[in-house]
Symmetry: C2
Subunit: 288 residues, 2 copies
């Protein structure tokens, strides 16, 4: 079932938000599937989705939405994914592959895999795309262009299912990195959850100093804090689910920040320069 050699019969996306909606739009734009089937929890959302050209079928229950699915994408908030996997498990057809878009993978992958019937396979995924804006209304067919998707199989996950999920994300325009769920959680703690903590705490701090100062800010503060506008409820769940790894990264980072503070306090300009230059070399190494 590798892409682009085979078109999916039915792609089912459950609980589409920014990411799930973008999966649907990108799959539609790229012709990856004969039918895109969606279920959303709220009836009014299902009604709105019916008008979208990238939806072929809107179904009223998750069980019915997966009954003839080739590939299922669980796009619910991260804390709802395991429950949704358990709910659809009895309705999955022979050979179905189930994946997700959750931001934390360790426990989620173990529990979702355990919830599957023998005729279906769960393979965890995490496309590293997003926005401070949430909801399917903000989704787009190009959200994933040039981004990385983590695919996080367990050692027991069949290779053929991993290959299918990998080929699917590649066909949507993402680079795929295959990691264990634990490696994934360590990496995102550093490159996603720690930056969120810094943007949030910088804004929370400045709000208490003098919010009016923000009107003076140049582009630097604006960019540095953009993700602080993200949805608080989504981030509480991410920090809950990846608490240990985030605490670990946060404490190592605090050590780095204290080193910067010490260098400044001690007027150790060579030390401060080394930190500025190491940071610049790192940042200059980003893909353009």
């Amino acid at each position: 079932m590798a892409f682009p050699n085979r078109v999916l019969d039915q792609l089912t996306i459950l609980a589409p938000g920014l990411l799930g909606g973008s999966v649907a739009q990108a799959a539609h734009a790229r012709g990856l599937t004969r039918r895109i089937t969606l279920w959303a929890r709220r009836p009014e959302v299902r009604q709105q989705l019916r008008a979208m050209p990238w939806c072929n079928q809107i179904i009223d229950t998750p069980e019915e939405a997966v009954r003839t699915a080739s590939l299922v994408v669980l796009a619910a908030p991260v804390e709802k994914i395991v429950e949704l996997a358990s709910q659809i498990a009895p309705a999955l057809p022979e050979g179905a592959i189930v994946t997700d878009v959750g931001s934390v993978k360790g426990e989620l992958c173990r529990l979702c895999s355990a919830a599957m019937p023998v005729r279906a396979v769960f393979v965890g995924s995490h496309p590293m795309a997003g926005s401070q804006k949430t909801g399917w209304e903000n989704s787009s067919a190009t959200l994933f262009d040039g981004r990385t998707c983590f695919v996080t199989p367990l050692v027991t996950t069949p290779a053929s299912a991993v290959e299918t999920v990998t080929a699917f994300w590649r066909a949507l325009g993402l680079d795929v990195a295959t990691l264990t769920p634990e490696q994934h959680d360590e990496i995102v703690a550093h490159i996603s959850h720690l930056p969120q903590a810094l943007a949030t705490t910088l804004c929370s701090f400045l709000a208490q100093k003098n919010p009016a100062w923000r009107d003076f800010a140049g582009g630097g503060l604006r960019d540095t804090t953009r993700i602080a506008a993200s949805d608080a409820t989504m981030w509480i769940e991410i920090f809950k689910q990846n608490r240990n790894e985030v605490l670990h990264a946060l404490r190592e980072y605090q050590h780095e920040l204290q080193g910067f503070d010490d260098a400044l306090a001690n007027r150790d300009w060579n030390n401060l320069r080394a930190r500025l230059e190491r940071g610049k070399v790192y940042r200059d190494g980003f893909k353009a």
Copy 2:
């Protein structure tokens, strides 16, 4: 000499880099002066500037460049501005007004004002615009659009000179905020120098963990760290000049970050949510 009621006879910009070049281009585009006169330290830069349509005169010494100037902008790196003010002082004509674009204002404003002859006035300025890219080659006529310029007179600075400098920046498209040099330094420590310290330390930290992880990053890390690519030499000087205020802001911020860490460690989700929501409200309040 208020703008836009009067066109300057001669605008002199000394040591143009990103900001000084942008002042020249914006003043040229908006017709604010009859003549734009530049001096750059390096002969090859003077040669390159001669070919720019926004330069009317390129002069080989700063003294000669200011001899018939109405308004002088000292655009040198912040640690060179006082020296440059002293160097041009004997050559300034009657009624000349001198300003600058330095990122730190306290000592600089006192020393530059003290260096002026009685026939000229110094008024400190700091346009809050910039880029991780430096040099006049990256300057543009639109760099200042919608930005704030701080104007930082001493209590002894004549009001008419403050009005001229204020009108000049407004005519270039900036909003002007008038503050004491000390208020300025406290504010920029929080909204500019602290964000730089966070972006730098985050990159310096991640460089030592695993630089390859950056290839997985979404837009969040990219935006949060953009200014870490800024010039290290420029920032060493800013941190040197504003050391006390930056240390003060950094320590208060570290307290906020420790509070976030404590909330996560203690699974105090209400506390963590309050921080996320306070940060979001602050960030949502940015001008669009």
